[in-house]
Symmetry: C2
Subunit: 502 residues, 2 copies
């Protein structure tokens, strides 16, 4: 191996705003000094792994700090081509004949990717359901990487599988407090959870017709395509939320097996469909209901905001996603069911993973807990977060975030230069400069992005394009929210002046 | 929030072999002392994140070390119920009314999960394609968690998406050195990659009939089920590898659109299907070929072993998996295609992620690069590993692992108490005690597992059950391999004595 070869002179440091090319701390070799004679690419596990990891983690933290400082804002300036060119310098050649060593590779790549990151920890980065993760969740996730347990069989994850069992049951009970045997699976996110909902409905009822609101996530359409189901029927949304009357009509008109998919927290608007009315309609028609609560689900933790999810427990299955309002690093998806028997179509036997005689001998059979096979314990960071913060700590983060959004909407309402779409339900605020057309609105967002000043999203509602602030940072201050508004106004003025001078 | 509340006295430390209940280093509060006044659950990102993370990461490393030391072997002893009881003590209540603080939660949970881990870094843990990850890859993965970039849109991952572009192209070119535009997607593993292969064939040809060898991975069957395709037709394997004559017959008999799935590294045996013959047969029948090289793919890095994959570049698509022979923490799957146009059915538009005017303005459209939406940059650790070690470093790890397996097979051949199935192709060695029946073979494996002495797999080949050692630890010594054999022999003797005394 060539991990001790000298740094590749063709690969300059990333980060154009950096004063110095040298890292602030010395780059350790792949191993520590007392590892001399040990492998040059040591393993992370075992009793020696932590010693091998310590200097590398220190280097990663230093590289992250440098990259963030070089960036100096929510987003790297310069646009796709400039950023791509910088990254190619750090990453290519991807597979050199001889390695450049762990210290060099880690420092250059981590620093370059940190510099070129959209940083959700910066309150001016507020485009998407793109959360700033908690330090404690990230620390727990390191342990998941080190231990590398795989949740497809008990003999690859004896303890981690039990953590998953406890946490999924507890979270399922949050959704279904009155059900005797609720259960949940860990997924890669809302997309996989929605896919599971459609798949299980298909296995129960055959080629179901999915009916959803026009504000439902695109993954519902995609899951139907993937699973060979008819394209979903979309019923109109009123003010961003599914219209119960239109749903009732659709169910009356459409025969055969059906699945209704409602949304608790639309990606575009944060709107929550009227769950009690929808549940009642589904019950009347004898149709199953899935609720995509990828965004809104964690309101369950907050006494103040939980009432917004009334009716959720009447759904047959629910999508949750703790890498949104749960402040987890990706991935932390969940798929909850009222009755764990609903998951039985996922059962599968592979003699090398869950042979009958093992199951008879009491070894847990995990293979039916996912559509994946090899699977990392994403549940560990969730467990550490919930235990660390408790219900009141989670509620405090939810409440702070909701308050930020309400405050931001008030600032916009009070600003005559801006138009607010509607007061937010969750933490998504839609607004636009008064008098701006769609093209100008799109241009404002793109200008802020290309110059690295702010990251805002966009949403087309009722035929008009709006700027979208998805506020997920619980520590955003009033000053941050004012600054976000000022940046938008600045660009409006610049664009007007630019067009005048042209 | 209640992160500073005292430790929960109901939750004892995990790890029954531990001499001391106290951690060797003091448990930090959620933040450091100079964070007083800052949020009690600080974020991982930004310029302050590294300071918040440093003490938490130190605690994680200490907890990992303690857990591994307490375990003192490849696997925790005691069986499922004992381990589950220990874990429940560390994880329940999952959502306490008040949190126990980050320091307490991290220490207890990480230590308990480390104690209760199947540790692939221990050479006696050799059941599955369950790799011991490299420290440098784990360190890079920490950066992915901290930055939390999401690869569904450019404005959530401006630099990370470019790293993915470079790495996937480079790895695709390793598979397809002569193709003008090879490409690859990053997946959660072989299961998702195989699913993509079937999905893309379905989109090109309609309801295809999949034809695979009897040694193919169960995910091929599962993908057909998921996608609404007919159950795959299985053609016989000879010595664990697909029989080309049987394949030719099957293709002659079966009309309509078909996809052949061959395997380069069967999970049970490590066998590689005869790819050149299979490719020739597929070409003659005008049928597309997918090769599942989740296990064997990284032989491409090794000059010595690459010839085993001759013919791979004739496949239309290939599954790779660097969380097996690539020593990455889960997940590090890849799906490579000869021509990037093959990926076009995955294209999808969601106005909030890739609107037309953004694409026209030059913003990269990432949404068609996965079936997932939110998606972590698993590619970062791969990039750091390949750059750190280079081609020769990766080859050295592959070669060492292959040498271990060859040596282990020699030891078994030389031991008259044991029977070797066949010499290994990759790093999987099947063996059993001479004269042992299937039930006894299963019992030997389970006894080693329940007592935490060794983790071996099992495989049923030609109607007989074998012990399976899947050797993925490049640093396994001859002494380790001898010890593994001794442990099996010890259990054979114990079981014989036990049955005699009964």
């Amino acid at each position: 191996m060539s991990t001790s070869s000298p740094p590749d002179p063709r690969v300059p440091q990333a980060g154009p705003r950096s004063a110095s090319q040298a890292p602030a701390t010395p780059i350790p070799a792949t191993g520590t000094a007392r590892d001399r004679g040990a492998p040059q690419a040591p393993l992370a596990g075992g009793t020696h792994g932590p010693d091998a990891l310590r200097p590398l983690l220190g280097l990663v933290l230093e590289s992250l700090r440098e990259g963030a400082a070089d960036r100096g804002g929510p987003f790297p300036p310069g646009g796709p081509e400039a950023i791509a060119a910088q990254i190619r310098q750090a990453v290519e050649p991807v597979l050199p004949d001889h390695g450049i060593g762990a210290g060099n590779a880690l420092h250059r790549l981590v620093r370059a990717v940190a510099y070129g990151a959209a940083d959700p920890a910066d309150p001016l980065c507020a485009a998407h359901l793109h959360t700033p993760p908690l330090a404690l969740a990230v620390a727990a996730d390191l342990a998941a990487s080190v231990l590398n347990q795989s949740l497809d069989s008990w003999d690859q994850a004896p303890a981690a599988s039990e953590v998953e069992r406890s946490v999924t049951r507890a979270l399922a009970a949050e959704v279904y407090p009155h059900a005797p045997q609720p259960d949940a699976l860990v997924t890669t996110g809302g997309t996989e959870s929605n896919q599971l909902a459609l798949l299980l409905a298909r296995e129960r009822h055959g080629a179901i017709q999915v009916i959803c609101g026009s504000g439902s996530h695109h993954s519902v359409q995609r899951a139907a395509w993937l699973l060979g189901l008819p394209a979903p029927v979309t019923v109109p949304a009123a003010d961003g939320a599914l219209d119960p009357v239109a749903l009732d009509d659709a169910l009356t008109e459409l025969p055969g097996p059906r699945l209704v998919v409602a949304t608790a927290g639309a990606t575009d608007t944060g709107r929550i469909d009227p769950l009690p009315e929808i549940a009642a309609i589904c019950e009347r028609h004898g149709v199953e209901l899935h609720v995509d609560a990828a965004y809104g689900g964690p309101l369950l933790f907050s006494e103040r905001h939980r009432p917004l999810l009334a009716g959720l427990e009447r759904a047959d299955s629910v999508t949750l996603d703790l890498h949104k309002l749960g402040w987890q690093p990706i991935a932390a998806g969940l798929f909850a069911v009222r009755d764990h028997a609903r998951l039985s179509p996922l059962a599968i036997t592979a003699d090398y993973l869950n042979p009958d005689d093992d199951t008879e001998a009491g070894l847990p059979d995990l293979l039916g807990r996912s559509l994946r096979t090899t699977r990392r314990p994403d549940v560990l960071k969730i467990a550490v977060t919930l235990r660390s913060l408790g219900r009141d700590g989670m509620a405090a983060l939810v409440d702070r975030t909701m308050d930020s959004a309400a405050r931001f909407a008030q600032l916009i309402e009070a600003d005559e230069r801006l138009e607010l779409w509607q007061r937010p339900t969750l933490s998504t605020v839609l607004f636009r400069p008064r008098g701006a057309g769609d093209a100008q609105t799109a241009e404002i967002r793109r200008t802020l992005l290309m110059e690295g000043r702010a990251v805002l999203g966009r949403a087309r509602i009722d035929g008009r394009l709006w700027l979208k602030a998805t506020l997920l940072n619980p520590y955003a201050s009033s000053a941050d929210l004012h600054r976000l508004i000022d940046l938008v106004i600045d660009v409006v003025i610049e664009l007007v002046e630019g067009s005048t001078h042209r």
